[in-house]
């Protein structure tokens, strides 16, 4: 019997044509790692999710001719799971917990905890009901999963007792970078999430102050425009109006890689809070993978991954002087060694089949 692994793709897998910056990257990483262990590895995409993403995408999505994607409606999953030979299913996060429970009756289930939602949910304004529902789903996933993946040792330590007696593997998020031709690194990148409930105005004011002093630093501000009623909107607009700032948002995967290749440094505006310290920061990871040093004011779930942080990590609010120092050092190449070492660590994690080892007989 051949061994098969299905990686449930929460967003469109990378073989579905034009992608946004972050589409399906975790699934792509896990598929490539699983291929070293299983005879056959497939993306599994629920039809309902496809429809939602299709609407979001606007124009056409080319349904893949690739043979490695299975699309199935949520209702049909039970029959599907009963029919196929025993296989391994990877569920990232716990949104499809009912399907995971069905799969667990005949198959091996891996619960991939990509980010610690119990920390980010309350900070993002979720209701108590939502938080309670998350906890129930989380506990259920932990119970039915034969193996649990965590994103780093920091997340493992945070989950602590909940993982006691479980088969736990560390699978740091290290999405494959997109290859683009090298170009002169002329711009500073400023970006991050624009949370409605978190106050990120201090870092916005810092950047305004820095960029007013440094008109010769062309800067790309990467974020959706905040709603005008948001607390951050005023500061956002102040930056947008500066002659040396170009606002952009929601880049395609290729354009994102091209823009990163134009940048000598990345200032992340994540707020100083515990959720962020354990959060994912895909932007930070993508910047480091693209060779761009990072300045941020709080860690990520991957802090323990690198011996030397590829850039600067401050545990206090960033000041204009911090940005000026970071820009100077980044331009001088002072972070190059640390960035290369960090890239090598990410490459190593992306290349290892270790998270899937021992699952095939």
């Amino acid at each position: 019997m051949i061994s098969t692994c299905y990686v449930v793709a929460n967003t469109l897998p990378p073989n579905f044509g034009w992608q946004m910056r972050a589409r399906g990257l975790r699934a792509a990483q896990l598929v490539s790692q699983a291929r070293a262990v299983f005879d056959e590895v497939r993306y599994l995409l629920f039809l309902e999710r496809f429809h939602t993403l299709h609407r979001d995408r606007g124009f056409a999505i080319l349904a893949p001719a690739q043979a490695d994607t299975t699309m199935i409606s949520l209702d049909a999953f039970e029959a599907f799971a009963e029919r196929i030979e025993p296989a391994t299913f990877v569920f990232t996060q716990n949104e499809f917990v009912e399907k995971a429970a069905i799969a667990a009756e005949r198959h091996t289930v891996i619960y991939d905890i990509l980010s610690l939602r119990e920390l980010s949910l309350p900070l993002s304004g979720a209701s108590e009901d939502e938080i309670r529902q998350f906890q129930v789903h989380h506990a259920k996933m932990l119970k039915i999963a034969s193996r649990t993946m965590v994103n780093g040792d920091k997340a493992r330590a945070f989950l602590g007792d909940k993982l006691k007696g479980k088969d736990v593997v560390v699978a740091p998020f290290s999405p494959p970078p997109m290859e683009v031709s090298p170009r002169p690194r002329t711009h500073l990148l400023f970006g991050g999430p624009l949370p409605r409930w978190a106050d990120v105005t201090p870092i916005f004011r810092t950047m305004s102050a820095y960029l007013a002093q440094a008109p010769e630093t062309p800067t790309i501000m990467l974020a959706p425009e905040g709603q005008t009623e948001d607390a951050n909107a005023l500061e956002y607009c102040a930056l947008w109006l500066m002659a040396n700032v170009t606002p952009m948002w929601n880049l395609s995967a290729l354009n994102d890689a091209e823009i990163l290749a134009m940048c000598f440094g990345y200032v992340e505006w994540a707020p100083l809070d515990e959720g962020r310290a354990h959060g994912m920061s895909l932007r930070t990871l993508q910047a480091v993978a693209a060779g761009v040093p990072v300045l941020h004011q709080v860690g990520t779930a991957l802090d323990l991954l690198w011996d030397t942080f590829p850039g600067e990590r401050l545990d206090a609010p960033i000041t204009p002087a911090d940005v000026a120092r970071f820009v100077e050092k980044a331009k001088a190449g002072d972070y190059d060694e640390a960035v290369s070492a960090a890239q090598a660590v990410l490459n190593h994690h992306r290349g290892t089949p270790q998270p899937f080892e021992g699952l095939t007989r």
Partner: protein, 279 residues
């Protein structure tokens, strides 16, 4: 009486007042002798106006700016605040610049995306022609017979097209850049292929004159790319011949998303095709 003709005479090419607006605190701009200047934005609501010349756009309320939907408008830009203000209005599509609208900057203008296609060098010619100073190429000249209100209506129709939710980098193939904002219903677009720091970024969208569809062969596509092509075909000709030109131009599948038609003018059917090469 043909009401349509009457309307065109009032707000159209000939006749009517060119109403200027400027800040009370500055001298009246010396632009052309026949502009009727005022510091009071209420003066812009008069019925016999055929074009606006706006010198201090930062001072106008949203309600008054909405009047520009119906009249050709020339923005006079001579300070950075008005430039930033106009750029925001344009980026957020609070105003839509059409082939009939112009921007005149006596001291020159940095190459600002969304504005650069509309910069004119001869304000007198613009005022004499009530906005008809530019020239569209080839068959697209039929668009010249449209009024500002027609363009506003096309912009509204075009806004119903669902575009991918992504930062657009667009490239112009042809010489019809002044139509871009009317027909490309996405705010915040960055133009590539005209120099500047983002010159080499791969486009997500190509705004092409359909006569040049063949030129798309020579472009390297590295990601799915939207194609927007305004057209004016002889009345009765099938629009699908344009579609075939795009299908033939490349090996990638071409998905036709929508074709909007805006009516018949000068023996042609005017419209715009929205499609995408899918990679």
């Amino acid at each position: 009486m043909d009401m349509r003709v009457g309307h065109q005479t009032r707000a159209g090419v000939k006749g009517g007042v060119v109403a200027g607006f400027h800040d009370a605190g500055r001298a009246t701009p010396s632009l052309a002798p026949d502009i009727v200047w005022s510091n009071d934005e209420n003066a812009l609501y008069a019925a016999d106006i055929s074009a606006f010349v706006i010198a201090d756009c930062r001072l106008l309320s949203d309600l008054t700016l909405a009047l520009t939907v119906g009249r050709p408008t020339l923005f006079l830009i001579d300070n950075p605040t008005d430039l930033a203000h106009l750029h925001i209005l344009q980026t957020n599509r609070e105003i839509v610049l059409t082939p009939l609208d112009g921007i005149y900057a006596p001291a020159g203008l940095p190459p600002v995306d969304g504005l650069r296609e509309h910069v004119i060098i001869d304000p007198e010619a613009w005022i004499l022609g009530r906005g008809r100073a530019g020239v569209l190429p080839g068959a697209l000249r039929a668009f010249h017979s449209l009024t500002k209100a027609n363009f506003g209506e096309f912009a509204r129709k075009g806004s119903s097209i669902v575009m991918p939710n992504v930062q657009q980098f667009w490239r112009l193939v042809g010489e019809h850049g002044v139509l871009a904002q009317t027909l490309m219903p996405t705010p915040r677009m960055i133009r590539v292929g005209v120099g500047g720091p983002f010159n080499g970024v791969t486009p997500t969208l190509i705004f092409v004159d359909p006569r040049l569809a063949g030129a798309l062969q020579a472009i390297t596509l590295r990601q799915s790319t939207i194609v927007i092509a305004p057209f004016a075909v002889p009345i009765g000709d099938a629009v699908d011949s344009l579609f075939a030109d795009f299908v033939d131009a490349r090996t990638e599948p071409f998905h036709l998303h929508d074709v909007l038609t805006f009516g018949d003018r000068d023996g042609t059917t005017i419209g715009c095709l929205y499609g995408e090469y899918i990679l």
